[in-house]
């Protein structure tokens, strides 16, 4: 969604030793807010909505996970402690969706990164059709996810779709019903996920590439380093922080995604593409199990926290290398 964050994040701290980072590490505690008159006046218009409509609801959501909250019930909601989590532990459907969510998140994030890296490297070259690729790469990004889903349903359509027509033309038989086949549904939606998220990743990596000093490349080339060696010794070390940030965020966004798969398969066939968000949405807004769905959300947060932690470790290690 917001590539801005993806890449800005990697640059939010000044480089080691810069005035920014030194100031941050000083022992003296920073004030809560600058004392200048009017600063509160500047901050409050955004701060109040954030507290009321974002921070507050998040805490409320976590609290709901420990209650038996349901929609349309006359009896009042009660605390049930860890009961929802105990139930979740034995809910095989939830763990199926959880596993599918992990397969989907990895299955989208990894190819997306590799393809985007290739495209970013190409766009960083002086090639002739570069502008066209840049312009085209914007399309998946600017499209509503619902339209991306609809568009690919037209591509995958068993009779009128272009994919089966290509297969027929190449003489590989009649093609198949990709989105409703038990074996093909998940791979088919993964391809769409890769397509939809490639632009953000490409742009982030391209920005990282353009920060690599060109002289280093030339020096390495003069030393007789081949393309692969130059990539490994010059390009990749400079790209690493951006690459780590964008893959971690992509993994999280993909794990949490909803609209694309809702439109493509709505979780079918037989739950083969039912991502955790789809499962939680149905639980909350079709069956009205608010407490139970909130508990699912909490488990998802736990997984994401682990990914974020791993990502931070990766960044720290990257810092030592340099």
């Amino acid at each position: 969604m917001t590539l801005a964050n993806a890449t800005v994040q990697s640059g939010q701290h000044g480089p080691p030793g810069s005035p920014l980072s030194r100031r941050g590490r000083q022992g003296r505690q920073a004030p809560l807010i600058n004392r200048n008159a009017g600063t509160w006046f500047l901050v409050l218009p955004a701060l109040i909505p954030i507290l009321i409509l974002s921070v507050g609801p998040l805490l409320y959501g976590v609290a709901l996970a420990f209650t038996d909250a349901q929609s349309g019930r006359t009896r009042s909601t009660q605390w049930v402690g860890g009961l929802n989590f105990q139930d979740l532990l034995h809910d095989t459907l939830f763990w199926d969706s959880f596993r599918i969510g992990l397969v989907w998140a990895v299955g989208v994030t990894v190819p997306q990164f590799l393809l985007a890296l290739g495209l970013a490297l190409l766009l960083n070259q002086n090639l002739r059709m570069r502008w066209l690729a840049r312009a085209l790469a914007i399309i998946p990004w600017a499209m509503p996810e619902v339209v991306v889903g609809i568009m690919w349903r037209l591509v995958y359509n068993p009779d009128a779709g272009v994919l089966n027509e290509i297969i027929r033309d190449l003489g590989f038989g009649d093609g198949r019903d990709w989105l409703t086949g038990l074996a093909t549904a998940l791979p088919a939606v993964i391809v769409v996920g890769v397509w939809a998220g490639m632009p953000q990743t490409t742009v982030a990596l391209l920005a990282g590439l353009q920060n690599t000093p060109h002289e280093l490349h030339e020096a390495a080339a003069l030393d007789g380093a081949g393309a692969w060696r130059r990539f490994r010794t010059v390009t990749w070390p400079a790209l690493r922080p951006v690459a780590l940030a964008i893959t971690a965020l992509n993994f999280i966004w993909n794990f949490n995604s909803f609209a694309l798969v809702y439109v493509l398969t709505n979780g079918g066939p037989g739950g083969r593409t039912r991502l955790p968000m789809l499962f939680a949405y149905e639980e909350a807004f079709r069956y009205g199990q608010f407490g139970y769905a909130a508990a699912m959300g909490c488990v998802m947060v736990a997984v994401i926290s682990v990914v974020l932690a791993l990502h931070l470790v990766g960044r720290l290690r990257g810092g030592e290398d340099r």
């Binding site: 969604m1 917001t2 590539l3 801005a4 964050n5 994040q9 701290h13 920073a30 807010i33 200048n36 901050v43 955004a46 701060l47 909505p49 954030i50 409509l53 974002s54 921070v55 998040l58 959501g61 709901l64 909250a69 495209l119 190409l122 090639l127 059709m129 690729a133 914007i138 399309i139 600017a142 499209m143 509503p144 996810e145 619902v146 339209v147 609809i150 568009m151 349903r153 037209l154 359509n157 009128a160 027509e165 027929r168 490639m198 742009v203 982030a204 920005a207 920060n211 080339a221 999280i252 966004w253 609209a259 439109v263 939680a280 949405y281 807004f285 608010f290 909130a294 959300g297 947060v301």
Partner: protein, 279 residues
């Protein structure tokens, strides 16, 4: 690029680039092609790439079947209000975050990062209950409130970057000349920020225009629903949608964000990102 690249490597690069172009473009071209095909061509067993008898029937039919104009108006109101409100309240806060290192700024930065990682289901259930108590379910105002808060993290992110790009010396010069703090902000900083503020607002508009999940949960009746939600009504029960009108409506829904994105594309891909990564 001054490095010498061998001819075969160059050829390989062009082949790869061509592959990317096809992969990126063909679904979109197929959408357009389907939107302009008459029903007869859509029903044929061997679909054509380019419609042999292009027609606007699908567009007419799409408007007949679903309240597309109403939905577009709803989307416009929601996205425009959310973008304007978000930018108006985010700009002063971004200014404070960029210029002062306080614990509040640090906390806000942390919140911006964390808010990206949250599964929306944990947010939507309490929001649904809160808005229900306020009688703001099935109301565009409820949706706008949610969109404002949802747009704030990246609006703050973008704006903090733009504020940092304004040299503090300019503000100091103004205050030396005797201008008050607020005066400096309004007459020196804001004008310099204007292009960044516009880009942020457009980006917020596009994301709100494209948003689906909150709108699906919060809006119940077709006359209140936004365009992405109404589009899913074309899908029918068993995926037995009428492909032509579906494609036509989907194509139309994409145009506004495509156009706006083309406008701000350069700012996003170039300036903002490069600056952000360098910081």
């Amino acid at each position: 690029m001054s490095l010498r690249t061998s001819r075969s490597a160059r050829t390989g690069q062009y082949v790869a680039l061509l592959g990317y172009l096809v992969f990126l473009a063909f679904p979109f071209l197929w959408l357009i092609s389907t939107a302009f095909k008459p029903a007869r061509e859509l029903g044929s067993l061997h679909p054509t790439w380019i419609p042999e008898h292009p027609t606007l029937d699908n567009f007419r039919q799409a408007f007949d079947e679903q309240p597309l104009l109403q939905a577009a108006a709803n989307s416009l109101v929601a996205a425009l209000s959310a973008a304007l409100i978000a930018v108006v309240i985010a700009t002063p806060m971004a200014y404070v975050m960029a210029r002062h290192r306080t614990r509040l700024s640090a906390a806000a930065t942390g919140w911006v990062v964390v808010s990206q990682a949250f599964p929306f289901v944990l947010l939507i259930i309490p929001l649904f209950l809160i808005l229900k108590n306020l009688h703001l379910i099935n109301s565009l105002w409820g949706l706008i409130m949610v969109y404002v808060v949802w747009a704030l993290p990246f609006a703050l992110w973008m704006l903090v970057g733009y504020v940092r790009a304004v040299p503090p010396e300019l503000e100091e010069a103004a205050s030396v000349d005797g201008a008050s703090r607020l005066r400096t902000l309004v007459s020196v900083t804001i004008p310099l920020l204007a292009p960044g503020i516009v880009a942020t607002a457009l980006f917020a508009f596009i994301t709100a225009w494209n948003e689906f999940f909150f709108a699906l949960v919060l809006l119940k009746t077709p006359e209140k629903q936004t365009l992405p939600v109404v589009l899913t009504h074309f899908l029918g029960a068993e995926g037995a949608a009428e492909l032509g009108p579906l494609a036509a409506a989907a194509f139309l829904a994409t145009l506004p964000s495509l156009v706006l994105f083309a406008v701000i594309q350069r700012r996003i891909t170039g300036g903002m990102l490069a600056g952000a990564v360098k910081s």
